[in-house]
């Protein structure tokens, strides 16, 4: 399955996902409280250091994940440069980079299954209120399975279009793709009910 978890093994992979998430929360709050260029530079150096513990290759992968941020960094710097408050712009841009990089670090070093477990643990108090949380875990698994199935069926329908028409597939394929997907979902629901549904556990 395609996730953003890095295949480069790091010491962070061994830490518990819940602990990493708690640390991330605390660090992000701290980032938004601090308000000086020096503090932000220090924060970025610290984050880069955290990445470097796992090696240059890991740092490089982390920089790759930051790609969507650079556009906004440029926008902020340009805007604040124009209004003459470059100091505020620099703080915001640096904070943005550090916050996103730190969050990415948790994502890159936590297994998807471990994070799902943290979510289920976080939801467990709801169970005492009578909310059934099992369907939520089940829905997560269903989505992960539905995505590749839907992509496959869409590809088949687009191929069928290409085999019959000289024109490029247009938006008209959207309806048959949706229909196939909806029918699939209804079948899955029926199969679930036939096997006892969510009452089985």
């Amino acid at each position: 399955m395609l996730t953003l978890t890095s295949e480069i093994r790091t010491p962070y992979h061994r830490l518990r996902a819940g602990a990493k998430l708690a640390a991330l929360c605390a660090a992000t709050v701290a980032l938004f409280v601090l308000d000086s260029v020096a503090a932000m530079m220090l924060a970025n150096a610290a984050v880069a250091g955290l990445y470097l513990v796992a090696g240059w290759r890991f740092l490089h992968a982390g920089l790759g994940l930051l790609k969507p941020v650079w556009f906004f960094v440029a926008l902020v710097l340009a805007w604040h440069g124009l209004t003459g408050d470059l100091r505020a712009g620099t703080v915001i841009a640096l904070r943005l980079i550090a916050a996103v990089a730190l969050a990415n670090l948790v994502t890159m070093t936590s297994r998807f299954d471990d994070l799902v477990e943290v979510v289920m643990w976080g939801l467990s108090p709801l169970r005492r209120l009578g909310v059934r949380t099992a369907p939520i875990g089940f829905a997560i698994v269903l989505v992960v399975r539905f995505i590749p199935v839907m992509l496959d069926k869409a590809r088949l329908l687009i191929d069928a279009w290409r085999a019959r028409s000289p024109r490029r597939p247009g938006w008209q394929v959207a309806l048959p793709i949706t229909l196939v997907a909806v029918d699939d979902a209804e079948h899955v629901a029926e199969a679930l009910r036939a096997r006892g549904g969510f009452d089985m556990d």
């Binding site: 991330l24 906004f72 915001i92 969050a103 990415n104 992509l151 309806l175 909806v182 629901a189 679930l192």
Partner: protein, 181 residues
């Protein structure tokens, strides 16, 4: 229960799949992705509560590290980024879209869906989106609002497509359009 959970999961997957549709670029040079259409469809087809749940499920998977946002983005980082307002707005937009759809039960599906998608999927989505950019990038509200203007034509096209798709699905599988069930 099983049917509702599977349909919610299906639409969460649909938002993800629509995010993979190659983006096309408008004459103005702004890239348009189909993901926003998925949010609208959740509302127009599933209705308010289930539509919002489908979007929350999708966002949950993004937060858990699946690269499902348009352009292959994902992970916790996107929630610390400047577009976080739109992510917060996604479930609200789906809810309002579905709510309007359910209120307009008397009207034919296509006009009801286009009305719901424009109000819920564009107007309601832009408000937290713009506020998010104001908060994260320290822009003024006017500045942030102006930066959204180029996206409006593409979003109107998406609302039209979402409404057409909802109407067609209602004809083919009326029982699956939960907002009308």
């Amino acid at each position: 229960m099983e049917r509702q959970v599977t349909l919610i999961a299906l639409f969460a997957a649909l938002i993800a799949v629509l995010g993979l549709v190659p983006k096309f670029t408008l004459a103005s040079g702004i890239p348009i992705t189909a993901q926003g259409m998925g949010i609208m469809l959740c509302g127009t087809i599933l209705g308010a509560r289930r539509g919002a749940l489908a979007v929350l499920l999708f966002l949950g998977l993004v937060a858990l590290g699946l690269p499902l946002l348009a352009g292959g983005r994902g992970g916790l980082g996107v929630f610390a980024g400047p577009t976080v307002g739109f992510l917060i707005g996604f479930p609200i937009a789906a809810f309002v879209t579905g709510w309007i759809m359910e209120r307009m039960r008397g009207a034919p599906v296509f006009p009801a869906a286009i009305c719901a998608a424009v109000i819920g999927g564009i107007l309601v989505l832009y408000i937290p989106g713009i506020l998010g950019m104001v908060a994260m990038l320290d822009l003024t509200v006017t500045q942030a609002t102006l930066s959204m203007a180029p996206f409006i034509p593409g979003d109107l096209i998406k609302a039209g497509l979402a409404a057409a798709l909802t109407a067609a699905l209602y004809k083919a599988r009326p029982a699956s359009v939960l907002s009308r069930a």
